[in-house]
Assembly symmetry: C2
Homo-oligomer: 156 residues x 2
Amino acid sequence: MKNRLQYLEMAISIAEEGINKGYGPFGAVIVKDDKIIAKAANCVTLKNDPTAHAEVLAIREAANILGKPDLDGCEIYTSCEPCPMCLGAIYWAGIKKVIYAADRVDAADAGFNDKFIYDEIFLDPIDRNLEFMKINHPKAWNPFETWKNYEGKIPY
Amino acid sequence: MKNRLQYLEMAISIAEEGINKGYGPFGAVIVKDDKIIAKAANCVTLKNDPTAHAEVLAIREAANILGKPDLDGCEIYTSCEPCPMCLGAIYWAGIKKVIYAADRVDAADAGFNDKFIYDEIFLDPIDRNLEFMKINHPKAWNPFETWKNYEGKIPY
């Protein structure tokens, strides 16, 4: 049986070993019942995909392997504290345990925006470095109304 | 030239029209220089991918089409306020304008966790419904050190 420190060390190794192959310096490992389900390094520039963080990729792979979007019972080990995007993905996936090594301040020191984005999300929308505009469209509620009434829906 | 209300209405239509085909009730449209670059509906259960929110999918498609992870100059129109995952993705993509119709309270009323996840992220990690554990691993900083020293890196 591997222990948490070993899984975390694997995530750190993935983060470090990919750098000279074009990966970003972040790695993640998803474990269930002491078995590795998925692992990934950051592929933002390799794949031209701003969402291709290690955690997001590992979650997508694990969900694909398990055949469902719900990763209940899984743990995620990540070389650095998940950014708000990845933390959101972790919640949506139903992962209940997050173990990480470096944090958002370390990431900022290496040139990454994790801390900036956390700070932004905490701001009132009007104070953000982003125009965030709610328009009261008369049809705004239509999709949810249709969803509520649709008997064939799969809740998630 | 289309106006903002029309792009928003398109996002709402995408959200509504996909429901009986198995999509979740959310839609997003990405626009640059008054041209639609990408549009998507939520595919979480269709693709077994908890990250397949409309905004994330539209961002991934737009970045793929533009051939770079940076969507600077793009606007995103979305049927519902982006959740923390999607808002994080929007920041990473460099999108500076977000226009939405319904909000996290409407989404909660329709059975979605957007508001719950916002509330969780605002909590001190120790108070979250999630074990969030930083381990001071001696190699924690290695990936960032290697990254800083790697001359071939593509900053993002």
